[in-house]
Symmetry: C2
Subunit: 306 residues, 2 copies
């Protein structure tokens, strides 16, 4: 059993409980509450909040209740994005994780509103991360406001949303596409941005002042960990496309394997994984407390463990 | 010319400029930028941010750049809600302010994503309200985080979104409807919540500590102004329904005039307007600096000036 597998079996249930508690508080309308919970409490692996928690653990940061709650905000964003992406006007997916998608189950208007509520709720979760937490375990308001700002950038029209916009154009305007455009304008914002947020949030919350003092050459740990998150996200997306490609190579949706072939796409994936490991090496070199094992395990989830 | 009309002619152009500047910064994709601007820069009266600014002015608060920017966040939320409400699965409106609605102009997937981007952007605007502002005119991080929390409550599944959910049920399940339900479960969250936010935000930003000290009987100015915003919002919504009812009384959508008739709905509107004035009187009594004129002018926008 990897360290990550142990870590997951400890923390995924706690993340799910936090999500469920906050979802219960999120509305007084029991019908709508059921819809919101259906969209979120679906047995996901909680990859994004888990990445934040893993970063905290690697930096030796104790995961207190406020840190746990702050880490879940990104999962609300991820969940809303799946609900909206599945809509008939978008990917028109009737099934998600083997069950009817939200609009298939409850209706299209309901799915739009569930998504809107989850996106709004993400910022509520961040703003209330200190609720019911003892004073000396609180996150500063300055830091929570900064995380709210970063989350809005990574998930909005400079991040995830614009990735989805380009992915849509992608389906229609094939002339526009080359490898660089697909990675920089679709994979990076659509998948990389949220995982970048996750790695950065876990890092920022782990009391970065210490680390910056240790690294006397002004090494930017936050930037290295943000980059690690992006690298991981892009490799993860290429792997996802490789998996889909194997299953159905007549799919008319453009993806990296369609564009440059499976061997070249596999090489590209591996180069992002290597770069991610390089980021971890850089962070290790500048911070003696940093134990990279859990984050290496994350990278090992993808591909052939290069 | 009323004081409000003067105030509007001074501040609406500044609000529009702030919105345009922030929209320009919100994305690097020029096509998507045009769509976002189309949705927001549409000649609206900026009722919600204007209410915040008017509250500041009534409390004698100077409207600095950070206050102006913070006041615009609610307009991003309002704008996104119109884009999503117009969607085919929702109200299916092809026209908004005499022009094609966002989905009619750009497509349905685009409209979903424009709405998502605007909602996300609202929280970015709040989190960056102090950008390019001199130190002594900054809003504290504690206050901005609190406003972010309140905005998420008023616009999400305890506020505007749930009002829209109920408004949808409303069309289908007429058995559920009575006057109290319609006002408490539709009008209050759907229209009241954002205007309540606007009045409260302007009040909170006007250095409430002073006022609470003046009122020695622990009068809650924030609560009174929040209630004022709700009262105004509900009266505004009833007036809107009265206007629609006059124009087309075969409309099959349930509204207060359909439910209890025009005279009773008019009385109800007037009772909310009276209650709103009462709130202003209460605030005036507890704060000698408070000049209610601008907010009275807001109430005078509605109905027969009771």
């Amino acid at each position: 059993m990897t360290r990550l597998a142990e870590f997951q079996s400890e923390w995924i249930p706690k993340l799910n409980q936090q999500l469920e508690d906050d979802l219960t508080r999120a509305t007084n309308d029991s019908e709508f509450s059921d819809m919101m919970k259906y969209a979120v409490l679906n047995g996901g692996k909680r990859l994004r909040p888990m990445l934040s928690l893993a970063a905290m653990a690697c930096f030796g940061q104790k995961i207190t209740p406020s840190f746990l709650k702050a880490a879940t905000a990104v999962e609300w964003v991820h969940s809303y994005s799946l609900v909206h992406d599945d809509l008939p006007a978008m990917d028109n997916d009737l099934v998600r994780r083997g069950k009817p998608s939200v609009h298939a189950q409850f209706g299209e208007a309901e799915a739009i509103l569930v998504g809107d509520a989850l996106l709004t709720g993400a910022f509520h979760v961040l703003a209330t991360a200190n609720d019911s937490v003892v004073e000396d375990e609180m996150i500063s308001a300055v830091e929570l406001l900064k995380l709210s700002q970063i989350l809005s950038v990574q998930s909005g029209s400079l991040g995830m949303v614009i990735g989805q916009v380009h992915d849509m154009y992608n389906h229609g305007k094939q002339s526009k596409i080359d490898e660089t455009w697909l990675i920089d304008e679709v994979y990076m914002p659509k998948t990389g941005a949220l995982l970048g947020f996750s790695a950065l949030a876990g890092t920022r919350l782990s009391n970065q002042q210490d680390i910056d003092q240790i690294g006397q050459d002004r090494f930017d740990t936050n930037l290295a960990m943000l980059t690690f998150g992006y690298d991981f996200g892009i490799a993860f997306q290429i792997q996802d496309d490789l998996d889909d490609f194997d299953q159905d190579d007549t799919e008319d949706i453009m993806s990296l394997p369609h564009l440059i072939g499976v061997p070249a796409a596999t090489q590209k994936r591996d180069s992002y994984l290597r770069h991610a490991r390089q980021m971890l090496s850089d962070v290790s070199r500048h911070n003696s407390k940093f134990d990279r094992t859990l984050l290496d395990d994350f990278l090992n989830l993808i591909g052939d463990n290069v």
